[in-house]
Structure formats: structure tokens, C-alpha cells
Assembly symmetry: D2
Homo-oligomer: 390 residues x 4
């Protein structure tokens, strides 16, 4: 590891009052392979400055907005210049920031969903492609090792072709708006900030992405119902769909913010011909493996005697039976991104093989939202998802 | 209880090789309030005779077919005559047997689904109505006390109007036909015996019925996909639907026989505005109650300190914390049916207030199957369920 | 099965107000192989008569006390005479009733614990031995098929020699006496009825018995602490012990009535050199099997694909995934007892090979109680259990 | 927060091949309030140097042994000098390192158990007291917010006086030595490094500490059995004890490394007069609260609607329903230690009120080990734990 250096990260967003920015920072720096060197933490310069102070960042590397940051940091020499920009702002600003970062030659790690709308998504994809730079999307749940273990089991063919997928993400925090607001999440109810789609954009895209990653297939069609039970915003607060996947599988997808009393029970079950897997976000260190021929198994994180592939085993930081969680999932994504940057610098390699969602995944996520809205507007007809062949 | 006598039951079907007939008998007689007095256990007279012998029933009350049974038993005097006939044959014979039993003046308890098709269902409903007799359908899961407790919680208005329902019944035993056949269930793959619909008829009707009972609402529309993954029969072995309920709620319904590795995890979750319930058939003595304002509670069978209504508490036979199961669920239905017969004899009262499914429930179940088939055939369009207003 | 008849049972105890008597009746008759033909349901003749009426038993076979019953029924001819007597009275009357029944030539099935004290236990064992008759003790939990499956796994040697056993039975219903009384259980707090020992006699004997059955070994020594936290009686309401088993294993045993909020979570875990088992009474249809070399498995009742031995599979009455419970556990014991009686009548065979606890098991249970009391009185010294070599 | 700076940490131990050192570093730096400024990561200078390189630490602050580190770092000015030393070496070196660090005026955070033996423990306590410096012991599990929530519930008196405690820590990784070695843990089998006691020292002290923290009481007496099932070392690999607590409660304590197939299921249950709590390390974001008067509740991390105290709620970094784990538990301890240092610098305040274990806790832990060994050697007699009144 001699002569290797920490990868340098600049952050846009994530200032005082943001909860996800802090988590990105913890995840990015957990393994000591990435250091935060600069930031524009708010579009309000004073808030940005104070936010930098909060985290002991030198004021010379704290900026009043992302344009200033990118302009100044791009001029720094090779020993100081950030390797990548982490974008942790609301959806509507992902596009301009990512565009500007790529134009300055920075790799980009961006919070999900990709952009505010499909048009931006396609434009961004074009920019990423022409830039030749690395672009990662932080679909956090892909950072859980057991999710990749699930993907590997299904990909191994051990259970035959995939037939059935159930994915559900039934939150309850918006069931009575105002009652359980969460932290600084009000922008999530503002279509100006989120783009079209409410729950479907915010958490439905996680469900979509998780299905595609675990199965290795794309969702090609949806037959959807979107509902607005509350007056929290003009957007859907609940969505359900029948889904069809490439290769003949089908299933159901649920995402909701009005399942009163539920916290965050994202869950996926996938069945092949002779067995299947189940993973639940609230017990992320377990993976249930079912089989037609044998009792159900519960794989446990961190021990090779528990049926884990060596590559999965290597992802755990803690001794067997000691839980890792959400921050470690972020850390796994950032660590893989840092490693990709190192490989990129050596030989131009890409993100392939990592569990960091790509720009293509992001585009399909946006297309999924559009298809959900279209299907629901058309009374639940089967609707193609654009780019599902990508 | 003085001068009260046991209610007398005749059984049609349930001979050697039938598994459900034996369970009906155990359930019916468990509490000692019903006695089996006669039977036509098979359409093969020799099998019927041997089956009677197996259960120590006197040969004078064992018949070679249901016509003989009904004719002979109808002639018996008031101290011997059966009060009701229990029909535990494959679906296609429910109608003729029930019709004949009603014509002879017997109350009828019938295994689900109601009939082979909608036409028979409507005709049977007419006969039941004109007969003035009691007709019960053994949708077993309604016999679990915790299911009725769930219904009561939702009906109390404690959680506001119902918004969302998820019901799922993902079995796996037919995922590779021939591999895990179950016991004597091959007729369930024969459309001549089951009527239209495969999994949707066999277990989808349970899911439909459970939703309607627990919510106190009717499913009015479905948007369905039916799939045949195996060559087990010409029928669907998997179904999924978006559903809409009277009063504005909606949700999803899944029933499948190809979820490899799953055993029998029927599960229902219902959410109102401020909380909801979850019940799972494989842990039937628990009821999870979630709330926006308080931690989730796990109600336990059999103890009044655990939030159960006194009427529910009274349904349990065992001391708190000692499990009751499937046979006891049947017993609860039969016990209520026996009590209804006693009230009927006194004052003509009906099944109302019990958890035994009625002829109307049965008709709606058949209409549900038809709507699922129609919706799927029409590419997943929203399709009305007939009689949902009943 | 031709020419076979139902086994005939007389019952002593179990009248109005008794809860366990009703459960014995349901369990005994569930499979249709045993019929209740007579009873002395209470030592109060009027209550006994009314209790017989409650269950539709002809008054000619209902008696005012057990002496009358045994005398009269012993005179009946071979087509009417009971095969065995089921004793479901409080502990202090087990001995005189069992003695009288054996003297009249009846086999005996008796509720646990065996007797009021050790002296009675030894005397009863002598009587059973000299009578040549069958004597069974209803340690209910041995009736769960998964318990026998656990025993078979450990006996197979698959996990090497047994090293460690944890058994616990922490109830909470007596934590504040008077608050949650249960049903007609006050005699359980009266040393005149129960004999020495409170919780340790009532439920500690279940824990003792379960350990011995599952491991196939005897508990040879205890190092105990008994506590009386409440003024519910003069007896212990809580017990904990270090235990040693024959063959070198050791472990812990807990039984308590003051673990406030617990219902009935009897649980046993046993570990051999390379794996182990866990079974919990409140989820009796599951068996967790752990191994050093493989992920934990959850065996499910009722399906041969789930790792169950054929003999265990045959014990289930319901299709896979449909729960069986406490009454079925009783039924399994009574069914094995009825089969033993049939074999006895044919060839004098005994109870061996069944999961019905024997008179020897009962004696060891009483010796266990005595050793617990002695150890606790001696400040927790290691104390031998008498007859542990039997 | 203006003018506040990061707290500076020096580390002794935790070099290449150490797993716990890396976890301490991640935990200490997770929240960005502590920076690692120097280290002696190994007693082998070359390994120490390479280990510093691995984590991008400047070579001028990496030392060949702890003496060099303490000497050199003690001379640094107020802008560079470490605030505290984190000791993450095997047990036998805790004492000399801690002593030397205190002598140089550094606060100390030390991995558990406190020292190699009781003599060292008492001597170290004396040094800590006379130094006036802060000393924390990383009993990790106290860092889980739900553990403190459990402590608060019990301390509130809501459930009356504590009566019963069950704590268990049954690992299985050493059940067949050599088979599942874990990572670089061989020193844990070497009495020269660990001091007396095997499992009881390594994980039994965690169980002891958890009981005392959650109940707010001290374990005063034990009645123990220690067993060596394997030839892994000369030490015990399994321990069980009856325990007595101040104030009249009692219970059981289990710690083992030979429960084959178990991973790391540390679990505690505590019962008061009218209810109790249950917490399990493998599902650390849940807390089960049982009550005599109400259904069991499952409190969930991170949401104020779930019954958590505001102070507990504030400990979570992630949005409700997103798991935190072992590293976050460490981080909570280090964050509290950093805050204590800041308060100390302001007003000399101590660790009180935090969940960081103190030197007194550490001394009682060592006394517990000694009492366990003594009791077991004396054939299980009740043995006082020294300093239990402290």
C-alpha cells in the first residue's frame, strides 16, 4: 500500500440541518481511505461557512456555493485537488452540480434519485459518457454485503431461472402529515425540489434498484396504482405495482409513506425454480435462503462457516455476529468508489463489478418513475419502462 | 346446559386418502358439541364402507353415495336425524350435494370454494335463501381468534379509516410439479374438479375472504396478472393483483404455488390512518398491532392482560401461551355453526355475528376468481367484482 | 384396522372449573381412537354429575367419587370396561387414585407431577411394576413432534457428544399474586395439594423432563437457588440451577412464575461438539438446528423436504405449514398410549419407544424436586438426584 | 461550537493483523470529533511503522513502542499533544501502558478487561484516582443506545424493584479449536496474555458489566461452574453461574465459547415486579418491553413515537429504521469520552452520567473473574465478589 494516498472528496450540500450529508461524510471516511477536503455545504454562504466550522474544516476550503467550489478547487495542484465531488443536495440540483463537476474534470458520487426528471437524466448520462469520468449513485442498500450475497446466489443458477419477485418499502412516517416529520425532510414533499412523483421517486426508486441489482435483471413493465391519501403534498404518498422483468419473471412492488406504524421495513424476496432468498433492511446482517429440498437457512454476516462467499466475507469490518448497519453500507459504496478511482488512475477502469449504482441504473430509475406515473394515469395499464434494455 | 344434546353431523366425502375430511372431523368433534352420526365418505361404495370402519362408525349409517345418505337419513326420527351435512368433497361436487342436502332440509357446512363456477354459486345462493336453512363455508383462517381480534380492532375505528391492505399467500409446493406433491391433492390440478382457476381458486379465495373479513369491506376491483410457470396443469399456478376495496382503501393480493421453499405463509397487513395490524397464519396466536404514536405491540393468545377482547379470550381452550392451531380454527367454526343451529331451532336466528363464512361470502369469492381471470385475460385492466355491493 | 375398536377411557377429575381435564379429553379423543366412557369428575357428587351432563355422558357412567367409579367399572364386561383411567386431579390425589386403578387392573394415564412426594412416588413405582400394567405420565411437551425430532438428531451422533444444555421456563403470571390468576389454578399455590415445591414442582419438573427426553441423558446433580419473591404461598415461586448430566454435559435450568410479562416461553437449547438444537414451546412447529459448519436451519413441521424423519412427519395431522399446538401434543401422547394398550393386549408390550413419560421418569422428576429443595436449603451445594442412574 | 477543536487521540496497539484496533479507530473518528494523531501500533517497530503507513499517518508520529510514543508526544505543545491514549493491546499490557500514559498526564481509554489480574487492577485504580485524569473502559455494548434506554426504564421504577436477571453470552467459535479461529485471536487462548480465566475473562466480563449497567446494581455473589470442554488452552471455555445482586435480585449468567453454531448472541433479560426488558446484541436497535398489564412492546431505534427518551433518541445518527451497529456503539463511547475531556478541560468534570465504563467498573469486572474462579474451584459455593459495594 506504499505511496498510496487518501482519495480526496469535495462535498456539495450536507450542511447544518441536513441529515443525509452527515451520513455520507461518516460513510465516506469510515475506512480511512477518503478524506473530506472541501465543501459548499449550503447555498447560503453563511450556513455553508458555519457548517464547515462544525466539522473542523479549514475555512479556505469552504465555499458559499457549488460554482465557487468547483472553480477554485479545480485550480488546485495534484496534491490538493479533490478526486471527486459528492453531491448530497435535494433532487432538483443534482443535474447542474453534476454537470459542472464533470466539466471541471471531477468524478462524481451523487445521492439518489439521479435527477429531477428524465430529460435531465438523459442529458447527464450523455455528459458522463463523453467525460469518461466515473459517476456513482448512492443507492445505499446495495452497500449491504448480504444484498450482494443474495445477487450472487441467484446469479449462480443454483435455484434455476428467477420467476417471482416481491419487493416492498412500506414506511409510515407521513401517514398523518405533521405528526412525525422526521428531520429536515420537508423538501421531500415539494415537487419543485423532488420532481414528479412523491414516495415513488423517493423510495420507490430504491425498491426498483434493489430488484434490478439482486436479480441481475431489469424491470421492463409496470402496471401501477398511485394514491394520495394525505394532503402532504400534491404528490403520491403511496404506490403499488405489478411488475414484469426481463427473462420472464414477474412480481409486485410496493412503496408507501402512509403505512402507519411501519418504520423502514424495505424487504425483497426472490424465487427461482427450486429456491429463493429473502433480505430485510431492518435485519441487514441476515440472509434467508429457502429451498425446495432443504430447510430454510439463515446466513449470518461475517463468518465463512455460514455459507458466505469469500468476497462477501471480506466486506465486513466487525467480528462475526457484531452488527453493521446503514453507515457501513454507505462506507462500502464509498470504499468501492475510492478503489475505482485508484484503478481509473492506473488503467482507466470503470465501476463494473462494484455494487455502486451507475448512471445507467439512475436513468432506468427515472424511467421507472415515469412509467409508474404513466401507468397509473392510464388506469393501470401495462406500461413499458424506457431504457430497460440497457 | 340441561336437556341440551350434541348436534348431529353427516359427512359427505372425507374417506380414505382424503386429508381434509379427517381434519373436518377432528375440528367438528373437538369440543364435544357435535357428533358424527353418518357418512358417505366416497363415491366408491367399498371405499366409503372401509372409511366408515376406519373411524368406528356403525355400518348402518355409512352409505355408498351422497344420494343414498340423504334419502335414508332424512327419514330418521328427531332423535337420530342429522342436523347438518358437512361437505368435504372436491369443488365440482359441492353444488349437487349441497342442493340435495338443502332439499332434504339439512343445514349445510361446505368446504371452500363454494362451487365449481359462478352459475352454480348463484343458483346455490338462491336455494339457500329459499330454504331458510343455515349454510356455512369453512374458510378456515376465519376460525383463528386473533383474526377476529384484528377485525374488531379495525372496526373499532381506533386507527381511523382503512387505507391499505397487503395480503399474500405464497406457497411453494408446486414449484417443481411432482417433487413435493402433498397428500392426495392431485385433484387440485384437475380443472374438471376445481373449476376455472388454479392457485387463485384454491388459495386466492382464502386471501380474498381474509381481506374482506378482517377489514369488514369488500374487494370491488382487481387488476391482475395470472401466470403458469409450470406444466402442472392448464391452470394458473401464480397470481398477483392490485386490489381496490369499498370505502377507498386499496392494496395488493398475492397467491402462488411456485414460491419455492415457502411452506404456507399466509399473511395479512392492514393500515388505517394512525395504525394497523399484522397477522400471519404460521404464528396464528400472535397479532401485531402497530401505531403511529406508540411502539408496536405483540398481542398474545389467551391472556386478558394482552389486550384481547373478552369475547376473543373466551375462544381459547388452552392456558395462555400454549399454542392452538389449524384444527382448533376448524373447531371454532364448527362450534359456532353448532351454536347457530341451536339458536336457529329456538328462534330461527342466522349465522350473523359468527366468523363462519356465509353463502354471500362464497358467491363473492367465486366472483373474485372470475374477475381475476377476466382482468388477467384483458391484460391487467381494472375489473369489477360482481356482487361486491352485497 | 378391521375388528379393531376404540380404546375406552375413564376419567377421574376434570369436572366443572377444571381447565386441564377438558384439554385431556380433547387430546384423548382427537384422533377418534379413544372414547370417554365414564368418569368421576369431582369429589363432590353433584359437581361430578353436572360435569358429566356438560359433556353429554350418560348418568349411569358418572360417579360421585373415584372409589365408586373404579368399583363399578371394574365389574363391567369386556365390551364396556374401560381400558385405562386418566387421572387429572391435583397432585395430592394422584397416588391413591392410581393405586386403586392399578389394583382394579386398569392401565393409568396420569397428569404430572407424579405424586405429592417421593415416598408416594416410590410406592407407586413398586405398584406399577408389580401390576404389569401400563402407566403413562402426561408430560405434554414430549408430545410435540419437533421435540422428538430434536431428540433423534442428538441421538444420531451427528453433532458429537452433548456438552451443554440450557432449559428455561420463565412464566410471569404469579409475579403479582391476585393480578393474573389464570383459571382455577389456586390449588397450585396450596402446599397441601401440590406437595413440597412451588414453581419447581409445577413447571420445573417439565423442564427437567424435557432435558432428559431431548438429550437422552439424566440430570445427575443440581446446584440450586429457590426464591420466594411474592406472598403467593409458602412455596418457591422461582428457581434456578446449575445442572450436571450423565456423560459429562452440564448447563442451566430456570423455572419461574415471577418473570413479569412472560407468558409461557419454555425453551430448550442443547449443544454437542459440532452443532445443536433449539426448540421453543410458543413456536412448537419449528426446530432450529445450528452447526459449526453451515448456516442455521429452521426445520418446519409437516414437510419431508424440511429435514424431518419419516416417523416424525407421520405424527402431523395437518398439511405442512398449518400449525398444530398443545391439544395435538396431548393427542400424540394419548394416541401412543392407546397404541401401547393395543400392543399390550396382543403381546404384553410396554411403552418403550413412545414419547409418553414413564413411571421412572416420574420418579426422577420427584427426586429432582427434592434435590432442588435440598441444594437450595444447603446454600447452593451440588446435590445428587436420586435414581438418576435408572 | 466555535473555537472548539477535535480531540486528539494517540493509539497503542491495533497494528496490522489486529482487528479490534481498526474498529476502535473507526469508532473514535466516526463523528469527526476525534482525530488519530499518533500511534505505537505494535511492539515490533517495523510493524508499527507499516501499520502507520497503512492508515496514512505521518511517520513522525508513528513510534516503535509505547514508551517512545508517550515520551515524545508528552513533549508536544498544546496544539499537537494528544488529549488521550487509546489502549487496544492484549490484556497483559494494559496495566504498564495505562500507568505510563497517566504518568505523562494523558487521559486513557482502554480496551476491556481492565488488566491481567486483580493486583494490577487495584494498583491502576489507585493511579487513576491520584492522577485526577479520565479513564474509560470500552465495554462496547454499553455504547448501544437501547441498552441505556433499558437502564433508564428500569431505573424509573416503572416496573418496581428488580427481581430477576438472565444474561447469556453463548459463542460457539471455539467449540472445535482450529476449526473457526476468527481473526488473529490466538492470543485470547494464551493465559500469559489474558490472565486467569478464558471465556469468563474475555466475554464473561461483558456479561457482568452489562448486568450491572442495565440494572444499576452490582453483582455481589456468584455460585459458578467453569468447564474446559476443549484442549484450546488451559483455561475455561465455558462458564455458568447463579448470581445475586445488591438489593435482593438474583439470576443466571452464562458465557461460553463452545456453544457450537452460535455466533454472538449476547442477551439480557431483566424483570421487575410488574414488567421487564429484553435486549439482544444481534438485534441491537430493538428493545422488548414486557408488562404484566399490557402486550409486549418492541421499541425501535430512532423514533420518538416509539417510546424512547429524548436523550436516547439524540444518540442515533441514522433516520429511524436504519440500523446502527457495533462501530456506532464504539463511536458512542468515544464521543462521550471526547465530550468528557472537553468538560474536564472546562471544569474538571468526570465521566459520570456517560455509558463509558469506569475504572471502578473495571475493578469489579476483575473481581468477578476471581470470584467465578474461586467459586468453581470450591465446588460451586456462593462466593462474594470483592468491591461489589463500590
Amino acid at each position: 500500500m506504499t505511496n498510496q494516498r487518501k482519495i480526496r472528496m469535495a462535498m456539495v450540500g450536507g450542511g447544518r440541518g441536513s441529515f443525509i450529508g452527515r451520513i455520507h461524510r461518516m460513510g465516506a471516511t469510515l475506512d480511512g481511505e477518503i478524506e473530506l477536503v472541501s465543501g459548499a455545504f449550503s447555498s447560503d454562504p453563511e450556513t455553508s461557512r458555519e457548517s464547515g466550522e462544525d466539522i473542523y474544516l479549514g475555512q479556505d476550503r469552504v465555499y458559499g456555493n457549488f460554482e465557487e467550489l468547483l472553480e477554485a478547487e479545480a485550480r488546485l495542484g495534484p496534491d490538493d485537488r479533490p478526486d471527486f465531488v459528492s453531491i448530497v443536495t435535494p433532487n432538483d440540483s443534482h443535474f447542474p452540480i453534476a454537470r459542472a463537476a464533470l466539466e471541471r474534470g471531477f468524478h462524481v458520487m451523487c445521492d439518489k434519485p439521479l435527477t429531477k426528471d428524465m430529460k435531465e437524466a438523459i442529458a447527464l448520462r450523455e455528459m458522463v459518457r463523453s467525460s469518461g469520468l466515473l459517476f456513482g449513485l448512492t443507492h445505499t442498500y446495495l452497500g449491504y454485503p448480504m444484498v450482494t450475497q443474495a445477487r450472487r446466489i441467484l446469479a449462480s443458477g443454483r435455484f434455476g431461472p428467477i420467476r417471482k419477485v416481491f419487493v416492498e418499502y412500506p414506511q409510515g412516517w407521513l401517514s398523518v402529515p405533521g405528526k412525525r416529520k422526521g428531520r429536515n425532510l420537508l423538501w421531500k414533499l415539494d415537487p419543485e425540489r423532488t420532481g414528479a412523483g412523491g414516495a415513488i421517486t423517493d423510495i420507490g426508486t430504491h425498491a426498483h434498484n434493489l430488484v434490478e441489482y439482486v436479480t441481475g435483471r431489469h424491470i421492463t413493465q409496470v402496471c401501477a396504482e398511485l394514491t394520495t391519501f394525505t394532503n402532504a403534498g400534491i404528490q403520491d404518498d403511496d404506490a403499488a405495482a405489478l411488475i414484469r422483468l426481463s427473462g420472464g419473471a414477474n412480481g409486485t412492488l410496493v412503496s408507501s409513506r402512509i403505512c402507519a406504524g411501519e418504520i423502514n421495513p424495505l424487504r425483497i424476496r426472490v424465487y427461482g425454480e427450486t429456491g429463493g432468498i429473502e433480505w430485510a433492511q431492518m435485519a441487514p446482517n441476515e440472509l434467508i435462503v429457502r429451498s425446495l429440498d432443504a430447510p430454510a437457512q439463515t446466513l449470518q454476516a461475517g463468518t465463512n462457516a455460514e455459507g458466505l462467499d469469500p468476497e462477501i466475507l471480506a466486506m465486513f469490518r466487525t467480528p462475526a455476529g457484531h452488527p453493521e448497519g446503514y453507515i457501513e453500507a454507505f462506507a462500502n459504496l464509498y470504499l468501492q468508489f475510492a478503489e475505482a478511482i485508484r484503478r481509473f488512475d492506473e488503467n482507466g477502469a470503470r465501476l463494473e463489478g462494484s455494487s455502486v449504482a451507475s448512471i445507467d441504473d439512475g436513468v432506468r430509475g427515472m424511467a421507472f418513475v415515469d412509467a409508474m406515473l404513466e401507468s397509473a394515469n392510464n388506469g393501470g395499464s401495462w406500461t413499458d419502462i424506457a431504457f430497460a434494455e440497457d
